[in-house]
């Protein structure tokens, strides 16, 4: 199972803070693609050019592999400080 988290503007746009994917293996980009297939309404928000990803709490590239048990997060650019 892959735990997928959404934060801030993206969480508000999707209307949910998390989603679980079962039986998944692939890259960060493929996680995104699968979510867009499952929820076509999410496409605009999830595929926005500024959305970043983290795998297991570390910034990840689109090609970063995602394995069972991983935590994947998608979020807009950070604005702390």
């Amino acid at each position: 199972m892959i735990q997928v988290l959404f934060f801030a503007r993206l969480r508000a746009e999707l209307g949910t803070a998390e989603h679980r994917l079962h039986g998944f293996s692939g890259s960060v980009e493929e996680v995104r693609a699968q979510l867009c297939t499952l929820f076509p309404d999410w496409r605009a928000a999830l595929q926005s050019a500024d959305i970043q990803a983290a795998v297991n709490r570390e910034i990840a590239a689109s090609s970063t592999p995602v394995r069972d048990g991983d935590e994947v997060a998608f979020f807009p650019p950070v604005t702390g400080g």
Binding site: E58, F75, G80, G81
Partner: protein
């Protein structure tokens, strides 16, 4: 005493108290640089009445530790103290405290500045502003990415 103190705070902190903690019982570091960031009453032309800071628990702490470790690897530092608020904040409340001590002022200034610059582009915090026009997610500023260029060593 541990040299690094890093805290993500759901409740307010007081800069004078954090400063005193940073400096207590340390007479070897003659230089101390501090940055404090607070909620200002306007942003991008809009009146702001307060904001809510969302973060990514777990990743936030790791991200801050990596940033502080990056500063230690670049400069000779004494203590580093870093606090960042989360949750709802009123105008004027402190969001961020970064304090760095060192025997050398150039190291203290550079490390403090470096930590703030990296935190602004890396640490998973997001601001939701409230104002007369309702709520809006603060947009990241491209200038924050540009500021990172000055710390590149390659």
């Amino acid at each position: 005493m541990k040299l690094d103190y890093i805290k993500v705070c759901g409740a307010p902190f007081a800069v004078p108290v954090e400063y005193a903690a940073l400096r207590s019982a340390n007479t070897s570091d003659g230089a101390c640089a501090v940055f404090a960031g607070s909620v200002r009453d306007y942003n991008a032309g809009a009146d702001v009445s307060g904001l809510t800071l969302e973060h990514y628990p777990g990743m936030t702490e790791e991200s801050l530790r990596r940033i502080v470790a990056g500063a230690r690897s670049r400069w000779q530092l004494g203590r580093v103290r870093l606090l960042h608020r989360t949750g709802p904040l009123a105008v004027g409340e402190d969001i961020l405290f970064v304090g760095v001590t060192s025997p050398h002022r150039q190291a203290a200034f550079a490390a403090c500045h470096y930590i703030v610059d990296r935190l602004k582009t890396e640490a998973p915090f997001w601001k939701l502003e409230s104002g007369a026009a309702g709520e809006r997610w603060v947009a990241a500023r491209r200038s924050d990415r540009r500021e990172l260029e000055k710390w590149r060593t390659d």
